[in-house]
């Protein structure tokens, strides 16, 4: 049973449907996509009694305004946001019962960049190559627009309220060195781990360009194009790092100094321009 749950009064800066990602298509050059902050996605789904990778809204920054068309259970996770329901501040990281006719606004962010909104039953969306995740760059789906209507296919049932703790979002990342270790001297690798890097304005779901102490390559930045993953850290020809994210390309020709360990990837979803990032080496 399809239920209309929200009317988009204002889509905000950039709001996308995202789920656990597109598995099994990187062979065709299709990025994994999916929520950048997967922990927030999983938490939102937990709070509304969904399976962990159900489609949620990934809300960049603020401004989104939704009108509830029916009663529903929802939850906000991710960024530390001021969220108003009919002008009243409500808690994130907790199940909320929304009544038909209420207005929800993501007003301000105290910390982080992306807020996740989950609804009981998940948002109904086109599934393409196994995922509801939107990636406009590769012509899969589109961002939310004014007057869009969001639906779910779960009837309203009584749910008890759940709460969950907000995870730690420090900007420290554990890195497993390789596979292009041969392109860097031990001195340069040490330099990479001993310095902090500033997040530039070049920041998207594809990658985060950093600026800091230049890392020198041995014999140029290029390697024979090889697979890269969400969390790969390439050192560009100018000596600056870029961290590839969920919509990053599947193969790349810049030397990869290392890859961020899986447990730390979620934090990348909350990184903002101007943040300072540090790395440490782990064996993995």
């Amino acid at each position: 049973m399809i239920r209309q749950v929200f009317l988009i009064k204002n889509p905000g800066m950039y709001t996308l449907i995202q789920d656990g990602g597109r598995i099994g298509f990187r062979h065709y050059g299709v990025p994994v996509s999916g929520a950048v902050d997967k922990k927030a996605l999983n938490q939102a789904n937990y709070l509304v009694y969904n399976s962990k990778d159900c489609p949620c809204l990934e809300i960049l920054s603020t401004g989104i305004e939704l009108l509830a068309l029916d009663d529903c259970y929802i939850a906000f996770t991710g960024a530390l946001a001021t969220i108003l329901v009919d002008q009243q501040v409500v808690n994130s990281f907790q199940t909320l019962l929304i009544k038909s006719g209420q207005t929800i606004i993501v007003k301000a962010l105290k910390s982080g960049l992306r807020t996740y909104l989950g609804v009981h039953g998940g948002f109904v969306s086109d599934i393409l190559m196994g995922s509801a995740s939107v990636d406009e760059r590769i012509l899969i789906g589109s961002r939310l627009k004014r007057d869009d209507i969001l639906t779910t296919n779960e009837p309203l049932t009584n749910l008890s309220i759940r709460t969950i703790k907000r995870p730690v979002y420090d900007n420290h990342y554990r890195v497993i060195i390789g596979p292009d270790k041969h392109k860097f001297s031990p001195k340069e690798i040490k330099k990479f781990f001993n310095n902090s890097y500033k997040v530039t304005a070049k920041l998207s779901r594809m990658g985060i360009n950093l600026k800091g102490n230049k890392i020198e390559h041995i014999d140029g930045a290029d390697v024979l194009s090889h697979p890269v993953i969400f969390g790969s850290i390439q050192i560009l020809a100018n000596g600056q790092p870029i961290i590839l994210l969920a919509d990053g390309q599947t193969t790349g020709g810049y030397a990869v100094i290392g890859n961020i360990c899986d447990d730390d990837l979620y934090k990348l979803g909350q990184v903002k321009t101007g943040d300072l990032i540090t790395f440490s080496k782990i064996k993995g």
Binding site: G24, Y28, G29, I176, G178, L224, S225
Partner: protein, 217 residues
Amino acid sequence: MKVTCEYAKMGSNHVFVRFSHVIDKLINQQIRQVYQTLITKQPLGFIEAYFAYGSLTVQFDLTITTYKAMKKAISLIISDTTITKVTSGNEVIIPVTYNNETGLDLDYASDYLKLSKDEIIDIHSSGQYLVYMIGFLPGFCYLGGLDKRIHIPRKKTPRLIVPKGSVGIAASQTGVYPLDSPGGWQIIGRTNLKLYKPYDKSPFLILPGDKVRFIKK
């Protein structure tokens, strides 16, 4: 043919295998074969695999298996895969409009290569190319086997938007941009053939191992 592979842990849950640092037809064929075996055999904890010219990556489920176990499963498949000759898949014909309007860099290439535009077009459209890999963009095929006479370095500053369908050359490679995208290859023509149709049942026209020919429209 036996190759010595180098293994690396890529993040927490990918095994990276490097077969070669250079483009080699036989090694690439071996990688494609190893990929086929991997997706057929699906070793315990296998999630997905993808590859490039000389390397392959396998994602595994950390809750079911370990890096060590997956590495072992892959290495067994690799040692069982011996290639003696290159075999290929389908042949795909790509009709191309080569002119100054579509071939944004034809003039530059003509200067650089000291060949007339017609010579470049004739050389490009008379070759048969092997699809080594797909990467960078959905359906972006890296085609090898470009005639040495038209090897040209990629642009120093990439274009912000290379139009969809553009046919490019760079070093020993040629390829087609399936989408509007930033890109640094030298553009010599354009095709209307759609290499990537995300809403179709089969979204990809060309697969690794296929042969491609370009014909003048």
